[in-house]
Symmetry: C2
Subunit: 216 residues, 2 copies
DNA sequence: TTCTCTTTGTTAAGAATTTGACAAATGCAG
DNA sequence: CTGCATTTGTCAAATTCTTAACAAAGAGAA
């Protein structure tokens, strides 16, 4: 692409996409940045600025065509093709994520499930049978895999990351509570549930402090 | 507290906390912002700046005492008391989250589990029996609940949020794919898995574009 | 104790992000 | 077809966030 887009912008794109899906489902066929800004609770200026990083999708005096903008954002986000995902660690969270990926109408599909626990071998989750971890290298040689989701204890996280990277995976969806060290050409997206919960705890604690001191 | 702390700072605090836990577990008893910066891959300046929002926890010529700083951050994040959590929607994800909260060594405990599905009634997850959704108001009257985790289909999200708020809950951990509309005195923390996956997809797509064009 | 080295807290500069403003383009009513 | 109303794309100002720099404080060696 052209320029480097700021990560602040990228973080907001999926949200735009969600709202456009919603609007499309409701049969709305055009929307102005002003209306969208009221809906999403952001400034209209930010919406226009964000979208213009990728091109002029709107039209003066008209606004944005919902279908068109939706599809353009899908292209931007790389959702126009299906991304095969493997998931490693089929515990509670792993199963939940597998089902989530499997059933969501997103552009991702479960290509394989792996677990260190031999007892799980052969069992099916989200329509896919579980393989043992030692089948992983072989599997990655014969299958095109875009993303590895890591839902394993943090002790193994870095080792498993190293393994999948060594076998050609370039994107990791990391649910473990550690920050992975990876080469420059590998992208990592963290879902740190504990961090999220701690932030909530902070905000809750703040709220209580404010409420009790009767506000300023 | 004193001033309003920027949300950029708050987002980073749980990460500091994680690293301090790790250091403490390793028996390290002091650390300088410089060493921590190398470990965490952020600037030392940012670490000092961030911490100083809350007070001077370090000492010139010495650095920070790991135990002390750990405990101070725990206080800041509101982790020094146990937060009772109810969870609504005991599907795959709900069970995973329940177990996660139950087994993690964090300051949160599952106080109740609720599901609309009558068939689940009485079953146990993470050591807690599942109640039906209509027991919720009664339950909230007799129990002190800090946080409601929502792991339900997005169609019900806003209604359920309204219900728990009406019954006195002030913090929502939202796993649904919609943005909730809540009063000013209610805090919401979103875990939007789909957004996260889309960001990963974007970064992966970008990476591929860069690689194929042989870089600049 | 004294001197040197380390390291913080803090101020200020620099960078990035967000918001505001408006000219130019287009829609739409009459 | 004309003219007013709408709305974008973009430039500039304002704000927020990050990094750099350094004086002051204390650690630790001799």
């Amino acid at each position: 692409m052209e320029k480097d887009i700021s990560s602040a912008v990228i973080r907001r794109m999926p949200r735009y996409y969600r709202y456009l899906e919603e609007l499309r489902a409701e049969g709305v066929d055009r929307i102005s940045s002003g209306d969208l800004s009221r809906l999403m609770n952001v400034t209209a200026s930010q919406i226009r600025q964000d979208l213009n990083n990728f091109g002029g999708f709107g039209q003066q005096g008209y606004g944005y065509n919902v279908d068109y903008l939706h599809d353009e954002i899908a292209k931007i986000l790389g959702l126009t093709r299906v991304h095969p995902v493997i998931l490693i660690g089929v515990g509670n969270l792993g199963q939940a994520i597998s089902n989530y990926v499997h059933f969501s109408r997103l552009s991702f599909e479960i290509a394989g499930l792996f677990d260190i626990n031999e007892k799980l071998k052969g069992r099916e989750v989200a329509g896919t049978r579980i393989r043992t971890y030692d089948e992983l290298p072989e599997f990655l040689k014969s299958h095109d895999v875009d993303i590895a989701a890591l839902t394993i204890p943090k002790q193994h996280a870095q080792d498993v990351a190293d393994d999948v990277i060594k076998n050609g995976v370039h994107a990791i969806w990391n649910f473990t509570h550690v920050d992975l060290i990876v080469p420059d050409d590998v992208v990592v997206e963290n879902v740190h549930l504990s961090d999220s919960l701690m932030q909530l705890s902070y905000n809750l604690t703040e709220r209580e402090a404010e409420t009790s001191s009767d506000e300023e």
